[in-house]
């Protein structure tokens, strides 16, 4: 056990799985970096933010494959390789680039098994950065997990900390279905205790980071930290919150969400993706259908506005959910007590 950054946790997960299983291969733009460069250094980058650094040096060019800038071909290749015996981990760099390769994910990898009557296995992991807060503007800041969650056949992982990232990524690599693994680009330098050995965190089991009586807060990815911060502050004001990290948006741990809402009677959902048809809607609809009787107040969503992500810092700050907005939403549902439950 030692302190590791989110970046290191992911690097370690990849390294350990590649050591364990020779069919695990990596591919992506500059996942090594330096092929064809004049210095001859072939492990120059290790990904655009250094997450895969050193893996080419350890595993060689046959297992760490730099690609041309052509997402459709290499994400499709990853799907094809997964269906024929490898366990590829393909890096899409920014999840926003899914616009260049959605077909390979949505119509190919995700559908093989069902369309082929159960005869295919596609153990594919696609890693990509998501999220605002980096001044990366409209084309490099989207969250987009709602898109993937909408598509049957995909599993979708959004880790909320270094510990979570390592365990969930190892699980993803060992999983036999196509998995979208989303890394918040603002979190790469977050640090916490992370076991040195390989471990897995199962999909579809929400993590209760805090238990309380008044309000359940469900938060996704980076939002979990903000929800805990808000809950800390609220505790001092006498409002006690449950904070729930679903970890995976598919499979979704519906049961734990429903149980928590049964206990608290109030729900706030924090989601940094665009507000229409997003995970906040999804979880809200689940609860409004299946735990309606327990609800003491309207379900509130803390989400960005329906706009592209703006570049400028003050606008991006206004755009993003944060602890203040979560705190305000929780207080609002505490005030809006519209009924006693029968």
């Amino acid at each position: 056990m030692s302190k590791k950054s989110f970046r290191q946790a992911i690097n370690e997960a990849l390294r350990q799985e590649m050591r364990r299983d020779p069919t695990v291969v990596l591919m992506g733009e500059d996942v090594a970096g330096g092929q064809g460069g004049s210095s001859g250094v072939k492990d120059a980058w290790g990904g655009v933010l250094g997450v895969t650094k050193g893996l080419l040096t350890e595993f060689g060019e046959s297992r760490v494959l730099d690609t041309p800038i052509s997402e459709a071909s290499y994400i499709g290749a990853a799907a094809g390789a997964a269906a024929t015996g490898l366990r590829p981990v393909a890096e899409l760099m920014f999840v926003d680039f899914v616009g260049c390769c959605l077909d390979q994910i949505m119509n190919q990898a995700a559908k093989f098994r069902y369309m082929f009557g159960g005869k295919a296995r596609t153990p594919l992991v696609i890693r990509a950065m998501y999220g605002a807060g980096f001044n990366a503007a409209a084309q490099h800041s989207q969250a987009l997990y709602p898109l993937f969650t909408h598509i049957p056949g995909l599993k979708v992982v959004v880790p909320s900390s270094p510990y979570e990232a390592k365990g969930l990524l190892i699980e993803a690599i060992r999983d036999d279905d196509p998995v979208i693994f989303l890394e918040n680009k603002v979190m790469y330098d977050d640090i916490e205790e992370v076991p040195d050995e390989a471990y897995t965190i199962p999909f579809g089991e929400a993590n209760l980071t805090r238990e309380g009586d008044d309000v359940t807060i469900v938060a996704i990815g980076r939002m979990v930290g903000m929800a805990n911060e808000a809950a800390d502050r609220l505790a001092k004001q006498g409002i006690s919150c449950t904070v729930l990290d679903p970890r995976t948006t598919f499979p979704l741990d519906e049961q734990t969400i429903l149980e928590c809402v049964e206990d608290t009677g109030r729900l706030v959902i924090v989601d940094e993706s665009s507000p229409r048809c997003n995970m906040a809607c999804d979880i809200s609809a689940l609860v409004a259908e299946q735990a309606f009787g327990a609800l003491k107040a309207p379900i509130r969503r803390v989400v960005p506005p329906h706009t592209p992500v703006p570049f400028s810092t003050p606008l991006e700050n206004l755009y993003m959910p944060n602890a203040d907005k979560i705190e305000a939403a929780v207080k609002a549902v505490m005030m809006q007590k519209t009924r006693e439950v029968a």
Partner: protein, 321 residues
């Protein structure tokens, strides 16, 4: 190099099976009993069969919306295919895929594909598997002249060269993508495109089994021996509409008739087999009869097969949830 008698017989049987399968589908479709979109491969049989004659079961192919021929050539069960097209539980995809999604990974058949240009990236991946797993396999993407304009296809040509993959890109050029002529939609030439991605190019007459076979042999040998990917451009004619129901008003009235008369791969095979005394024509007649029976039983079996049930609806979305 001489093609073995066994290969010749097997190939003739595969071509005849495709022809009979397709012509029967054409008739059955007209009765309204077959649902969905059906794209017939009739007239193009020698391409699938000439290429696949050079492949083993562990080699991989990816196909297109017009996939029946490739499936049969790669050894997918004909009865299972027919049942699939009829939407039955006994279909190769248990009735969930239909004509456009027939696949059998145990036969190295990575699927027909409803997405034009869907196959070439997958084949880069299959070729990578062969390369990393060092199983001596080759991966072959079949795609049309229309698909040759998709970004996925073009990117894959580049990726295959960059990764030096054991892959063959077979452009099945029947001159049309739906109702649009290749002379309109494809700028430049396939040959120059291959050069544009540093890839060797070969071409052949797709109505001549022997021509396809020999060109494919060279292409596949090249890829298998570690020399990198190859493009094989096969010139073809499609005998029916783009899909069943297409009146083909974009084609000159005699175009299909001429193709049937002058470019029938089965006729030219029989002719050459006879002339060069490669095979006894009576053996071919026997095959014809056997195939006719096989297709008849496949249709009967399909029509009598059970439908999928409610429990099937949710099955096999994931390996494990």
């Amino acid at each position: 190099m001489q093609i073995s008698r066994e290969t010749l017989l097997r190939s003739y049987r595969a071509m005849r099976t495709i022809r009979a399968f397709e012509e029967r589908l054409h008739r059955e479709f007209a009765t309204g009993e077959i649902p969905g979109f059906v794209h017939l491969y009739c007239g193009e049989e020698a391409s699938a069969v000439g290429v696949c004659a050079n492949l083993t079961e562990q080699d991989t192919i990816a196909s297109t919306h017009r996939g029946h021929g490739h499936c049969i050539a790669k050894g997918v069960d004909v009865g299972g295919m027919m049942a699939e097209i009829y939407g039955r539980k006994t279909g190769v995809c248990r009735g969930k895929g239909g004509s456009m999604h027939i696949a059998d990974l145990s036969k190295g058949m990575l699927g027909a594909n409803g997405i034009v240009g869907g196959g070439p990236p997958l084949i880069c991946g299959a070729a990578l598997s062969h390369k990393v797993l060092k199983d001596n396999g080759v991966a072959v993407a079949f795609y049309g002249d229309g698909a040759s304009n998709e970004g996925t296809t073009l990117e894959s040509l580049n990726l295959a060269t960059v990764w030096h993959l054991p892959a063959v890109f077979v452009v099945e050029d029947n001159g049309y993508g739906e109702a649009t002529g290749a002379s309109y939609a494809c700028a430049g030439t396939q040959k120059d495109r291959a050069a544009g991605f540093g890839m060797p190019y070969m071409e052949c007459d797709g109505s001549d089994f022997f021509a396809v076979h020999d060109a494919a042999r060279d292409a596949i040998d090249h890829a298998r021996s570690g020399k990198g990917p190859v493009m094989l451009h096969v010139h073809l004619q499609r005998w029916y509409g783009h899909f069943e129901g297409d009146a083909m008003s974009y084609r000159a009235p005699n175009e299909v008739a001429d193709a049937k008369k002058d470019h029938d791969c089965l006729e030219s095979f029989r002719e050459r087999a006879g002339q060069e005394k490669l095979l006894d024509l009576s053996a071919l007649d026997e095959i014809d009869a056997a195939v006719a029976d096989e297709i008849e039983s496949a249709v009967q079996a399909a029509k009598q097969a059970p439908w999928p049930e409610e429990a099937d609806l949710m099955a096999d979305v994931y390996v494990k949830i």
